[in-house]
Symmetry: C2
Subunit: 249 residues, 2 copies
DNA sequence: AGTCTACTTTGATCTCGATCAAGGTTTGCC
DNA sequence: GGCAAACCTTGATCGAGATCAAAGTAGACT
């Protein structure tokens, strides 16, 4: 279970970034924030655009400001597995790394706050607080990756779909500053194909399980991209998910 | 692809630890090694013994000196997925964490070099080099976890078995300071059940795929726990594995 | 040595999700 | 509006791996 940053400490902003810049600025003192400000720039990518190609030089380090990006790896014959989902405030890149190990692809229009690599590495070297923050974030990511391993290895297709819906629901609630609970409505920010890659399924199975959950009354599909959940606990239950992200029924 | 510590920098020892204590001591200066020495102790666990229970208090922080331990998570109904394999020099625990998110189980007799939690946390706070080392290690682990996600989501049973054999071969070569190559022989340090949990398979499928690889001549089984590989490249090929860990054919 | 227990292998059958194949729907562009 | 391209759904069938069942094997203890 990822240990999340206490809400109060999340509110620091990285200069004028339009998000709560949890990623790297929490715990930073003002001087460091200023130095970050000096070396950062924004860039947006269109949906479907590949931001970084696996195996090529890692051109950036930074974090997602808005939109959804994906990390994925492929086998030589083309089979593809998504290995991470990057939501607003998530960090991209690794200090000191030269070659990107994954494709980074924009799943929607994505804005990234990026730092110049060399300068960011320098900044890290003399900012232990920043390094500590990166360590905490990386450990949270490791926990998420391991949670996902449980899903990939042992959950049924139906449970996988329910699990990913819970993730989307939580993301949406956080974005809207709304509460999780019965009757919630949220956007599905990935195509069926991207979900299939995330869940280790085929696109047809994803589609069929959406239909099955609809028929069972667990979800109401306004359209392919918008879901309503009459009974949130029911959805959690379908996901066989322990870690409820702090939701109390 | 995990960035590994350059070989030369790995040779520092944590005091009198009987392993190359890559885990946390590389990059440490002498004074820090001494402070680590002061707060460490050794403990051994029998094969099958649970070292830490998921959900309970995390009693230790440290690293594996010898043997093999496993990290695993379970679903409420008992389905189980291994989420990490701890080999000698791998690190256990997370600075600042109170509750263990996974079961840690000894797969063989395991010796652990453990540090008193409170003191280790203090040491980290004023040793940036140690923190940096932990960050690098955690990022390597994250890369491994993601590599494993590709295996769990997209590889066939046969590829999964070949992949895990490659891991065991590499571990054995490192332990014996021998070279990877044709004719190598190594130990399988997990039961069929543990491998099944690691690979997201059943024990019967694991057994059958061992038999199938034997029949194809990819491996020669001396007994259930000892494997000989006539053609290492063939095994790598069966694993559909890109990352060859630096092996040059 | 003999027995127990844990581990492994093999066989028969079933099932969930993949694959193959059409249609249907939405979006954007002319 | 009409068309094209991308995306989504549904149906029919297949097959890899799960499940159920039964032997075989190897340590460990007496």
């Amino acid at each position: 279970m990822p240990q999340t940053v206490p809400k109060l400490e999340v509110n620091l902003r990285c200069g004028d970034c339009p998000i709560r810049h949890r990623a790297i600025c929490a715990y930073c003192d003002e001087p460091e924030l200023e130095r970050l400000d000096d070396i950062k720039s924004y860039k947006t990518y269109k949906a479907g655009e590949t931001i970084v190609w696996a195996g090529e030089e890692m051109p950036l380090i930074g974090s997602v400001v808005s939109g959804v990006a994906t990390l994925s790896r492929s086998l030589p014959d083309g089979r593809r597995q998504m290995v991470g989902l990057l939501l607003p405030s998530d960090f991209i890149g690794r200090p000191g790394r030269k070659v990107a190990p994954y494709d980074v692809v924009a799943a929607s229009e994505v804005m990234i706050c990026q730092f110049r690599v060399a300068k960011f590495n320098l900044l890290i070297d003399d900012t232990p607080a920043l390094e500590r923050r990166l360590l905490d974030m990386t450990m949270d990511e490791l926990d998420s990756a391991r949670e996902w391993m449980l899903l990939l290895g042992r959950k049924t297709a139906r449970e996988k779909i329910a699990s990913v819906l819970v993730i989307f629901a939580r993301r949406d609630a956080e974005l809207q500053h709304s509460e999780l609970g019965d009757g919630l409505r949220f956007e599905v920010p990935l195509t069926r194909e991207a979900m299939a890659d995330y869940l280790g399924l085929t696109i047809e199975t994803v589609s069929r399980q959406f239909s099955a959950l609809k028929k069972s009354g667990v979800i109401i599909m306004e359209d392919a991209r918008h879901i309503r959940v009459p009974d949130y606990v029911r959805l959690l239950d379908e996901a066989s998910d322990d870690s409820d992200g702090g939701f109390i029924a």
